[in-house]
Structures are given as C-alpha cells and as structure tokens.
C-alpha cells in the first residue's frame, strides 16, 4: 500500500519541519515514508513543494494526478500544486495568502483560489491556521496546526494522535507546538466531523 502526500507553501513556513514530524510519527508506528524536498534557491522565500510517500513506495516523488492528500500552507501555492491531487483526493488548506516579494504583482482573490477545489468537487477543508497558531503562542507554528488537522482527519494509517504528541514533545518549543497541534486537531473535529 502507498499513500502520497504533497505539502505546498512558501520557503520559511516550516514545510520541512512539518514533513519531518509526519515521517517521525509514522516511524513510531513502524510505517516507512520517503520525503523529497528541494533546498537552495527555493529557500529564499520562493515556492516550495515537499513530497511524502508513505508505505511501500521506493521512489521519492508523489505523482501528478496520483497524490492522495494536498496540504497547502498558503493558498496560491496550494493551487499551484493542485495538479498533483487525485480526483478522490483530500485537500487541507491554510486560509492564508502571502504576496510574492516582487514589485507590482497582480493578486488573485481568496474566492478565485478556493474555487479551483470547489469546482473540481474535491473534498477540501479550510483551516484558519495562522489565527490558531497565534492563539497557541506564535504564528510560526501554523505548520503544526495543520499537522493537528491532518491527524484529526484520520486518513493515513500510522499517523495517530499519541505518536504525534510524543514526537512533538521532543521538539524545541514543546508547549507551543503541542498547543498548536491540539487547536488544529480540535478545529477539524468540531467543524467537520
């Protein structure tokens, strides 16, 4: 069995940390995964995709048209990565738009961006991760709010709450991260289940 995930966002949003937390949680339950990421140019505020292939896969990249879950930490980047998702895939969106750092760009609206997922009849969930992260103590942990939401969806076997919390407890800002995780987790249960 394999389960393919893609994380999309902007350099600096903690995508690689998020991927490592996911892989570590899976490993706690003896599930293998491969993460693929690009360093270098993409780090300097550019768009970043991180691929996670859970289970039996041997190769590093999640396929276009064959990815089960898209986690967008920023809406423009989520749409840019939308081609990866399967028709029956799940989309988790941070309700957040970050303007690219170049002068005079034309920006799409929030509605236009979200309509891509709506019109393709995908199962999508919008999470106010920036707001919940602030509530947890720092916007920087929006990635972990999204992690909480992912775990709450209960779609990936091996990605369970107790292992997730054990992994987060080993991180540097343990309290804030655990709070962020709980807020994301609770949000999904309360709003969507």
């Amino acid at each position: 069995m394999e389960y393919n995930v893609i994380l999309a966002g902007v350099g600096g949003q903690g995508l690689i940390t998020l991927a490592r937390v996911i892989a570590s949680t899976l490993l706690m339950n003896n599930v293998n995964s491969i993460i693929a990421e690009t360093h270098g140019m993409s780090q300097r505020g550019g768009s970043v995709n991180v691929h996670i292939r859970v289970g039996d896969a041997l190769s590093p990249l999640s396929p276009v048209g064959g990815t089960h879950m898209l986690v967008g930490l920023e809406l423009i980047e989520a749409v840019r990565a939308a081609k990866y998702i399967r028709r029956d895939g799940i989309v988790l969106l941070n309700n957040y738009i970050l303007k690219p750092g170049i002068p005079g760009v034309k920006m799409p609206s929030r509605e236009e961006l979200i309509s891509v997922f709506k019109e393709n009849n995908l199962r999508y969930y919008i999470i106010p991760a920036q707001k919940l992260a602030k509530e947890a103590g720092n916007v920087i942990v929006a990635n972990i709010v999204m992690f909480g939401a992912m775990v709450a969806l209960n779609e990936i076997s091996g990605l369970d709450k107790s292992a997730a919390k054990e992994v987060l407890s080993g991180l540097r800002f343990k309290e804030i991260n655990l709070r962020a995780f709980e807020l994301g987790y609770k949000y999904v249960l309360e709003e969507f289940k």
Binding site: S59, I102, G170
Partner: protein
C-alpha cells in the same frame, strides 16, 4: 528529530535522515578518516553532517577553498593510507577534473570516495551534466543507490570497492536522493583511522611520462578487475522473469519498481544496476538470456543504453534496445514520466491521466528573493545609484551565489552568469574588447572570490584590464547554507581559524584602489563605489571594493538561538507619503504596501538592518525595538 526508535540491541538505532546524512553515516560506519569538500547544492549536507560528528569520532574534516583542492587533499590522505571522502556538486567535479583524471592512473593506498551530487532539472544549478561520464572517461567506477533507502549501504560499498581495488570510486547522488529523507538504521563505527604513513613510491605517485605510460596499462588491468567484481555484488542484480527486460541505472530502479505496481505487471525482468560504470557485461548478458526486447531506464544521458547497444554488437546479438525513445533525456525522472514511457513501451493505458483542471486563475510567480536584512540589497541599491550618477554603461559580469538574485527587478545587475569565478574572468574579455564608455563591473561573493576569483583578478592586473570588482563579503558561503571559508575566521567545526582578508589579497595582487564599505550605510557605500569608478576612468586600472556585512539569515538565527532580541523598525504613517521607494525600488520583503500605498513593516520578518531608514526620502522609518550591544556583537 527525536523520533529515534531504539531497537533491542542498543547499538542500532533507526532514525529519519536526510539522504546526505545517510551518506555521511555510511562514511562514518566505513571508518572514514579524512574529509574535505567545497559546498554545493545538493551535496553540502554530506560534509556538514560529517563536520558535526568530527569532534566525536576524531577524523579530520575541512571546507577546502574549492573542489580541486578538496579532491587533492582527500587524494593525498588516501595515498597516505587513510580512508578519505570528498564531496561536491556535479559542476564541482569540473573544477576538480584535473587531479581526478590522473587519480585512476596511480590509484591509492587507503580509499578515496568522491561524492558527486548531480542536479537533474537544475533545481539550483547552471546545467544538468551527467557525471557518470566522468567515471567512463577517467576510468573511475560509479556507484549510485537504487532508491533513497540504499544510500547508507551503497556508501559503505563505495569505500569497500575503493579499499579492495586501491582505486578511486565515484559515489554519484542526485538532488532527489540527497534531498530525500528516509528511516535509516545507524550503528556505531568499528574503527576510525585518521593517521596514515608514507612509503616512498615515485614510480607510482610521480606521474612523469615514463611512469604514466606504465601506469596506464596497470589502470586498464584494474578496470577489468573492477568490472569483474561488479558482476557479483548485491547492488547489481536480476529480479523477476519475463521475455522483456528493463535495465535500470541507479535510482531509476525505484521509479521502475513503483511504476510496474501501478501497471499491475509482473512478467518482466529487471536488471538493477547500482554499480553501472564500468558496465558489468557478464551480468548484462546473463540478464538478456531469453529476452526479446530491452528498455534501458536512466536519467539524463543515454549512457547505459549506448554501452548495452555496443555490447550487443560485439556479441552479435540482435535484440531491440530502447531507452531515450521512451524515457526523457531532459530533466529528472518522475513517477509520471517513467510511467508514461513504460505504458507506451508496453502498449498499456497510462494510469494517471485523470487530472483536475486549474484554469481561470492566474497565479503570480514566486521566485526566490534576497532575504530581509540581506546586505546584498544595500550593495545593489548603492551600486545602481553610483552607476547612474557616473554615466558609464555598465556591463554586469555576474557570478554564482545569493547575489545572483540581483538579476531580478528592480536591480537587474547581472548580465552574465556562467560559473564560479566567471565574473572577473569574463570581465577580462569585456575590458579589452569594449570601448571605454562601457565599464565592466564584476560582481562576486566572498566565498566565490576565494574559490576562483583570485587568479582572474591577478590576470586583470597583469594584463591591465580596467574593471570594477565588487566583492560582496557576507562573511560566509550563504547560498549553500552558511559554511565558513578562509575569510570567515572559522573552520568547518566553527572553531577560530586563521582569517585571510580579501583586501590584503587584492593589494598583494597589485590592485591599487582597494576600499571596504558597510552596505548597511547606503550613502557612504554609494560614495565609495563612485570614487572607485572615477579612479578607473582616470587611471585605466582595476579597482576593487568590498561590501562587508554578515549574512542576515545567519545573524538572526544566531540571535534566536542565543535568545538575543532582534531589533525592528516601523513606519511613521504621518510621514509616509506612499511613494513606494522602500517596497518597489528597495524591495525588502518585510516592507509591504498597504491598500492606500503607504508602507507597513512586518515585524516578524524585519531583522532590524535599518537600511530602509536611509533610503526613505521622508524619514518615515523609525526604530520600534532598538539595537542592543549583544545584537551588534553578532555581526562580524
């Protein structure tokens, strides 16, 4: 990360490692005693990891000045009988190609593993050269993992092969291997030997023509033995059975295995080659037995395809061999393009054709940009102003580093970018061939200057090629993640080291106009640059200026680690007129335009460089959290 699972025997732990960390652990477990490298994406973390563990395991580790020196140092250590490793990005091997090409003639006493990390799709490189060719043409075997999971073990195998044959080995990686993360079992190394001995043997190691002629014969003889060896290793193997054969080179194997699952096919034979150069011909012939058709799946160039075709001709076997007819030659392999190739070859339907539609929304591009507080921004801003005021026609001979981003609007100050050191090098040609209304301006980083900027500078002085050289000295090699270099004053494990000053080198090279400025002080920077341009106009000579300020990413992360508060600035909205100079002409990502055009500073991004204070014509930018002496002390 702390998801370390301790297994029953406490010597083995399973941890999630970056591919490059897995390579580093393979080297540690193999008993590496000497490590030298020059950073380059996607190879850098191999030696960053080895540097982290050097104090514990006591091998030598260094950032060398460039790849040629790195390879020579590792080669020397290997001649002294030590197991040594050097790592570089694919184009780094070009820089090291001279010693590389002769290393196979002499062989070594210990072992010499050269990690070449190639970059198919050019995620952070200027070309996508396929370094398996280096192995072929320099008679150096090439090993490459069949999937990210094999990275650690293939590394220990590279050391083993090198030790047995006393011959250099290229361990090839690519971006997708080096920058994958996988669970890896690691164990404590058995023995690390970092001291060697020297036995005089000039007939072997002093390659004068009479020796070289003899050595060449010996090398070819070793080459045959290496091929023989590669016929019988676990990483080269035949799997499955069928009348069709797929031959895979390196990690193409992982895509083939995954693709066949998607296609639900099992009556196919696979020949997995992870030690593909030299081609283990006996094993290939064995795999061909009873086969009607062959597809070679390899990334980039048709190297194995060509070798297999030539083998078939020699053996008088007539089976169709395909490769680049179905598998793209440009860019990296993906599950999609391998699946497409296999579906076409097998005449099956491509299983992933049902994709969602994303039209109607126009997405703005999001290129990488200079970070908030990046000293390069101040330098480019001042440089542009000085150039406009001096009325010269600039030819910006650019170079490779974070400052390559100066190619973008609004600075557009990189007209050529070729390779490291190419800035001053190309400017030599511009200077002698363009009329004096043009001013060749070479823009080069500090690490790049040490790597390959010194020789073209000496050339410019010697052959008198008037030009302005702007060295952007942010104290470290920033592009690849802030490694120290000879100008930093620190070594690879961040102990104090001898600091070599760029201004001293420039003066010793005969440059008469040498000045250092602080790019956070924009007006002063502009003045110094203007002075340099006037000097060139009057004296027809080289002038060199150095913009000296540490990388803001490094300083702000040090501040965070040490708990030192980072100063910030804010906009006085009464004074701001919304002219846009700060966000349109200066383009600091922390300064964001609001609906009414006035500026807003995002304090979570601001690192307090204060450059924007000087560029605001209305004095509307003011401190919100002032500088402290602790923060001041972090910039060196």
């Amino acid at each position: 990360m702390s998801s370390i699972k301790e297994s029953k025997e406490c010597m083995v732990r399973k941890v999630i490692l970056l591919g490059n960390e897995a390579i580093a652990w393979g080297a540690i477990e193999a008993g590496v005693g000497f490590v030298s490298a020059y950073p380059g994406t996607p190879s850098t973390e191999v030696v960053e990891t080895l540097a982290r563990y050097a104090p514990k395991y006591k091998y030598h580790v260094e950032w060398s000045v460039n790849e040629k020196v790195a390879l020579e140092a590792a080669y020397g250590a290997a001649i002294a009988g030590v197991k040594s490793l050097t790592a570089m990005k694919h184009v780094g091997v070009n820089v090291a190609a001279d010693p590389l090409s002769t290393s196979a003639y002499t062989g070594v006493e210990g072992s010499l593993v050269i990690v070449s990390a190639d970059d198919p799709s050019m995620w952070s490189s200027q070309n996508e050269q396929d370094n398996r060719y280096y192995g072929l043409r320099a008679f150096i075997p090439v090993l490459e993992a069949g999937s990210p999971y094999e990275l650690k073990d293939i590394t220990t195998e590279a050391f083993k092969l090198s030790s047995i044959m006393k011959h250099p080995v290229i361990l090839r990686s690519v971006t997708r291997l080096s920058h994958s993360r996988i669970p890896v079992e690691i164990r404590e190394p058995s023995e690390i030997k970092s001291k060697g001995s020297f036995k005089k043997n000039p007939a072997k190691y002093a390659v004068i023509p009479s020796h070289a002629r003899k050595l060449r014969g010996e090398m070819l003889e070793r080459w045959n033995r290496i091929e023989e060896y590669l016929n019988n290793v676990w990483y080269n193997k035949i799997e499955g059975d069928g009348r069709r054969l797929i031959i895979t080179s390196g990690y193409a194997y992982s895509y083939v295995v995954d693709s066949l699952k998607y296609l639900n096919i099992s009556d196919i034979k696979i020949l997995k080659l992870s030690g593909m150069i030299p081609l283990p011909r006996k094993l290939v012939l064995k795999a061909m037995d009873g086969v009607d058709e062959i597809l070679v799946v390899e990334e980039l160039e048709p190297i194995i395809e060509t070798l297999v075709k030539s083998l078939l001709y020699d053996e008088n076997i007539r089976i169709p061999v395909y490769g680049k007819k179905y598998i793209p030659q440009i860019g990296e392999l993906t599950l999609n393009n391998v699946l497409k190739g296999l579906s076409k070859w097998l005449d099956l339907e491509y299983p992933l054709s049902d994709v969602i539609t994303v039209d109607g929304v126009e997405l703005p591009p999001r290129p990488p940009v200079l970070c908030p507080g990046c000293p390069h921004r101040g330098t480019f801003f001042a440089l542009r102003r000085a150039v406009i005021r001096s009325r010269v026609k600039p030819v910006y001979a650019g170079d490779i580093g974070c400052y390559s981003l100066g190619i973008n609007k609004p600075f557009e100050a990189q007209d050529t970018i070729v390779e490291m050191g190419g800035s001053i090098g190309l400017a030599n040609g511009f200077s002698h061939t363009l009329s004096r209304e043009y001013l060749p301006i070479a823009i080069i980083g500090d690490s790049t200057f040490f790597h390959s900027g010194i020789t073209p500078l000496i050339n410019a002085v010697y052959n008198n090629a008037p030009m302005l050289v702007v060295v952007l000295d942010n104290r470290v090699t920033a592009m690849t993640g802030n490694q120290p270099h000879p100008g930093s004053g620190y070594n690879a494990i961040w102990e104090k080291a001898n600091e070599i000053k760029i201004e001293d080198i420039a003066r010793a090279s005969g440059v008469k106009f040498v000045k250092v400025f602080d790019p956070f002080k924009i007006k002063e920077s502009e003045k110094v640059i203007l002075e340099a341009i006037n000097y060139i106009k009057e004296n027809n000579e080289v002038a060199l200026v150095i913009a000296k300020r540490a990388c803001s990413l490094l300083v702000s992360s040090m501040a965070r680690r040490k708990g030192i508060s980072i100063p910030t600035y804010k906009v006085d909205l009464d004074k701001c007129t919304g002219c846009g100079i700060c966000y349109n002409a200066f383009t600091c990502p922390a300064i964001i335009p609001m609906e009414d055009g006035k500026a807003y500073i995002d304090e979570s991004l601001c690192v307090g460089c204060g450059e924007c204070v000087e560029i605001c014509p209305f004095k509307a930018i003011i401190p919100s959290k002032p500088w402290t002496t602790e923060y001041e002390s972090l910039w060196w």
